[in-house]
């Protein structure tokens, strides 16, 4: 497993991709979930009782930063199918939108634009924020293990 990770991330390009995904996803999710504010001052804030939500965001960002570059590696270097890529993208997107649609600007925009359907969607994504993020993490974890497995097989075949 470690060898597979070394194989992918020994290439600087994938290391940069991974770092970019982690940082950008973490910042965006922390802003959307109101852990970080940019106005009127840049300030971070971890209210009591929201620590688990914060931990899930960090885990989600880290897993996305691990799995997505590995799948890009599979597609671009090994010319493999794009099928497994969808798992990593799905996990990242679902996990991201879970907390975004609360009482913040995204939820407000969704409700203002889509009316009662938007309100129902927002309520669902807010009520089940933690379970949805856990499912997204589970999807990314499964994708990670299947990617590692297929990389091992494909690398042996290609080498």
């Amino acid at each position: 497993m470690i060898q597979t990770i070394k194989l992918v991330f020994s290439n600087l390009t994938y290391l940069i991709i991974s770092f970019t995904i982690f940082v950008s996803m973490l910042i965006v999710l922390l802003i959307l979930s109101e852990y970080v504010f940019l106005e009127p001052y840049v300030v971070s804030h971890l209210p009591p009782g929201t620590e688990f939500g914060f931990l899930l965001i960090v885990t989600l960002s880290a897993l996305s930063a691990l799995v997505i570059p590995m799948n890009i590696f599979r597609i671009s270097i090994l010319k493999s199918s794009k099928q497994k890529m969808s798992g990593s993208i799905l996990g990242s997107v679902v996990g991201s939108i879970a907390g975004a649609c609360s009482c913040g600007p995204v939820g407000f925009a969704v409700i203002s634009t889509f009316g009662s359907i938007g309100a129902t969607t927002t309520a669902f994504l807010t009520n089940y924020e933690i379970p949805i993020r856990l499912i997204a993490i589970a999807v990314l974890t499964v994708t990670y293990f299947t990617t590692v497995k297929s990389l091992k097989i494909e690398c042996k075949i290609n080498s």
């Binding site: 504010f37 804030h45 009482c103 913040g104 309100a119 009520n127």
Partner: protein, 218 residues
């Protein structure tokens, strides 16, 4: 002579107690239909919490079902109350932006039904202390809103008829309209208003941010 002093002293004490009792109650019923704070019409908002003649007003746009409003209420508001509202430097007005679910407007209307009986802020506090994680999960439905009123000892005939008749539906809608007009795109949203300045704060920001804005304005 002594009897005269005794009577005079008793009258002075009664007057002093009456003045203290009236000044220590932060709640004032909102009867001013022309009330504005900066560019915001707060005439349909909550009664003023704190000193009505304080030089600075915090206008909070909020929803009773909003989790971030709950966070702000429990984590930031106590410090603001202690350092600025209780000391008479700042007062606060709550204006509804009830958009999150079907129970949000109803909860906002219920708060004004409680205001009819002089207990707006008690009811407001009770709602934020009773908030449950699930939006429209039933914690703020009509039955529960009536139960909250009962627990505060409100006249239930008055409260029920007020809530069931949707007496304050238009009032809540007016407040939501104020939020739209001032570009509030989420809750909680704040405006810090002084005589010559108006600054917006978006989200459940920590006390340090409010302090950095309030201190130079005082």
């Amino acid at each position: 002579m002594n009897k005269k002093f005794l009577i005079l002293g008793t009258i002075v004490i009664i007057i002093a107690v009456a003045i203290f009792a009236s000044s220590s109650t932060p709640e004032t019923v909102n009867l001013d239909i022309t009330r504005t704070h900066g560019t915001i019409s707060t005439s349909m908002g909550s009664p003023i919490l704190g000193n009505p003649s304080a030089p600075i007003t915090i206008v909070e746009f909020g929803d009773y079902q909003c989790h971030q409003c709950y966070n702000w209420y429990h984590n930031t508001k106590p410090s603001i109350t202690r350092e600025y509202i209780d000391t008479g430097k700042v007062n606060l007005v709550f204006v509804d932006l009830a958009f999150l679910g079907n129970d949000s407007p109803k909860a906002a209307q219920a708060s004004y039904c409680a205001e009819d009986q002089g207990l707006y802020w008690d009811y407001h506090d009770l709602l934020y202390n009773s908030q449950e994680p699930e939006i429209d999960g039933g914690w703020a439905n009509s039955e529960r809103l009536k139960a909250f009123a009962f627990s505060l000892g409100l006249d239930m005939n008055l409260f029920n008829s007020c809530l069931d008749s949707e007496k304050y539906s238009k009032r809540v809608q007016y407040n939501i309209q104020q939020a739209h007009e001032h570009g509030v795109k989420g809750t909680p949203g704040f405006f810090i208003v002084s005589s010559d300045e108006q600054q917006q704060i978006r989200g459940a920001q920590p006390f340090t941010v409010f302090k950095q804005i309030l201190d130079p304005m005082i």
